[in-house]
């Protein structure tokens, strides 16, 4: 199905027929997507659904042909540098450098985004304060908890005032308190800056509570799109009144059909899934 939303104006993200293959396996298979400015948009799906590949295409990490992805109207293939200046990216792995202090980690990203020296210190302080890490800024990141590292990564992304914050599984491996803290900071930052947030998750609960709109991905394709309420209402309409209130997981099972559990789910080439699982476990293990 088409996942074009569209309220007019320039979209924060527009994907048209995004396809990406690892060898013979199509990790993403014709994704059409439109993320509106200012919304929290979730890409939801199990491991290997194509969430991370979609995100890596949007962030210019994977090569895509011209005309397929636009970020705030800029073509991601033709104007990579311009697109990257609009992005704040937090990958799935805990990507802060443990050998540097929190402040030094943020300072590095201020430097590579060309923050001039006269405002660098103040900007770094503001980014650290925005995520609540001002008090721990001079400690080595290696001494941070998993939740603190995630907040530090948010500060690194924020220091360049991005218009699109891209988060790949931001709460993976965190305990419920740290998870809530990370989401509250994201909400606070969004409220203060009006930035668009594009997030992948395989937590149905988080997607339900935290995202304005969702795209449900399965096997590289968008299977459903809408607000969490719309998706659940759609299932109620399909099943008829009187059935128990559905969860997003029910919606997902419905749109994925029998493909989630059946033998048909065993793909010939499991590279995407294996990579996802390995990355997930590594991150979870580092978070502790």
């Amino acid at each position: 199905m088409s996942a074009e939303g569209g309220t007019g104006g320039v979209a924060a993200v527009r994907c048209t027929g995004l396809t990406y293959a690892f060898g013979r396996t199509r990790a993403v298979d014709g994704v059409d997507l439109r993320v509106e400015q200012g919304e929290v948009f979730g890409l939801l799906g199990p491991n290997g659904a194509g969430k991370t590949t979609t995100l890596r295409s949007i962030t210019t990490l994977l090569p895509v042909p011209p005309g397929v992805i636009e970020i705030f109207g800029r073509d991601a293939a033709r104007r990579k540098m311009a697109v990257r200046r609009l992005l704040g990216y937090v990958p799935q792995q805990l990507s802060a450098d443990g050998a540097l202090t929190g402040r030094e980690n943020v300072d590095l990203f201020a430097r590579v985004f060309d923050v001039p020296r006269r405002e660098r210190h103040e900007r770094v302080e503001q980014a650290l304060a925005a995520v609540g890490l001002a008090g721990a800024a001079d400690r080595l990141a290696a001494t941070y908890s998993g939740g603190m590292v995630r907040l530090l990564e948010l500060a690194q992304a924020l220091v360049s005032a991005p218009r699109l914050l891209v988060l790949d599984e931001p709460t993976i491996g965190l305990d419920p308190i740290a998870r809530g803290n990370v989401w509250e900071r994201i909400a606070g930052i969004r409220a203060a800056t009006g930035m668009t947030v594009l997030v992948t998750t395989h937590s149905m609960e988080e997607a339900d509570q935290r995202c304005d709109r969702l795209a449900l991905l399965h096997r590289g394709r968008v299977r459903a799109l809408g607000t969490p309420g719309e998706l659940k209402d759609g299932l109620v309409a399909h099943q008829g009144e009187g059935s128990p209130p559905p969860s997003l997981e029910d919606v997902f099972r419905h749109v994925a059909g029998g493909e989630l559990d059946g033998p048909g789910d065993q793909r010939e080439d499991q590279r995407g899934e294996f990579g996802d699982v390995r990355r997930t476990r590594r991150t979870a293990s580092r978070v502790g």
Binding site: R84, P91, A99, E104, L108, D114, A161, A192, M195
Partner: protein
């Protein structure tokens, strides 16, 4: 590109005015540097990171000093006594010292690719690749950061050599020129390492290849003995080995032996440029 600030959200929970005051800099993206300024800015950023890491943890500096000290103390002293290697009027340990400086710098640089693979696995590299940093600028930054590390290592070897009575120059200009030579040589070898890292993609394989090539590079150079003592085929290998040009320049600068400084520096600059080009071309493999 036009840098459009993220629009502040009108409904801030904390009261938009105070939030805007506290985080005013995070609402406006920094102005991009113009073309030619990007590479020096990124090189500076990477060198600053390297220096900060060394400031936090000097253990590597001390442990890495052991091997060159042993070369000078054991190999240098012994071969000085047996006078097996004809070095003219220059005592053998004096002749050897610049070779050991080049060797210890090369050893640091040749394993720099391991850090790139670690950065890739931990997400640090991925995040850097989503910044407005051309890949060649990122590689150049890493290459010169390896050079900074090698210069500090070289300074330690100079001190050890001076303590052993080696008659090194203390002319600041010559020492500065020697530092430039070490940086250029390290830039090439670190790029060679990053290129191999982008091909083999795993630390274990890179460790194996690094160990396999360091000793041949070292022995097939003029670091330990004059090239004229080598068989013809080894002399040909030595001529193609950038380490020989680095050692020749260091010997000329530090102990005043006849050298071909212009040719040496020309070869090292060319080698560094080729290395940066090759590593930048292959860096995308580490992003996938």
């Amino acid at each position: 590109m036009s840098a459009v600030p993220a629009a502040p959200h009108p409904a801030s929970a904390d009261g938009s005015e105070s939030v805007e005051q506290r985080y005013n800099l995070l609402l406006h993206p920094p102005r991009p540097r113009s073309g030619w300024q990007v590479v020096p800015a990124r090189v500076t950023a990477m060198c600053v990171v390297e220096l900060r890491k060394l400031r936090h943890d000097r253990a590597e500096l001390y442990t890495r000093a052991v091997q060159p000290a042993l070369w000078l103390l054991i190999f240098g002293q012994t071969f000085s006594r047996i006078k097996a290697i004809p070095t003219g009027d220059v005592p053998y340990v004096d002749y050897l010292a610049p070779g050991i400086i080049a060797q210890s710098a090369m050893f640091i640089a040749i394993f720099y690719g391991i850090m790139i693979i670690w950065e890739r696995d931990s997400g640090v590299l991925t995040k850097l690749l989503v910044t407005p940093t051309p890949r060649a600028a990122l590689v150049a930054g890493k290459a010169f950061a390896a050079g900074v590390k090698a210069v500090i290592q070289g300074a330690v070897v100079v001190v050890i050599a001076a303590l052993m009575g080696v008659a090194l120059t203390w002319n600041p200009l010559r020492l500065l020129a020697a530092a430039v030579v070490v940086v250029l040589g390290s830039a090439f070898f670190s790029c060679l390492s990053m290129t191999i890292a982008a091909v083999v993609l795993t630390r274990d394989r890179l460790m194996g290849i690094g160990q396999a090539i360091t000793m041949p590079l070292f022995f097939a150079s003029n670091a330990l003995y004059p090239v004229v003592l080598m068989p013809g085929w080894l002399q040909a290998v030595s001529k193609a080995n950038p380490l020989s040009y680095q050692v020749d320049a260091l010997r000329g600068l530090l102990i005043g032996t006849p050298a071909h400084l212009a040719a040496d520096c020309g070869v090292l600059v060319l080698a560094a440029l080729v290395g940066i080009t090759a590593a930048a071309a292959l860096l995308g493999r580490l992003a996938r």
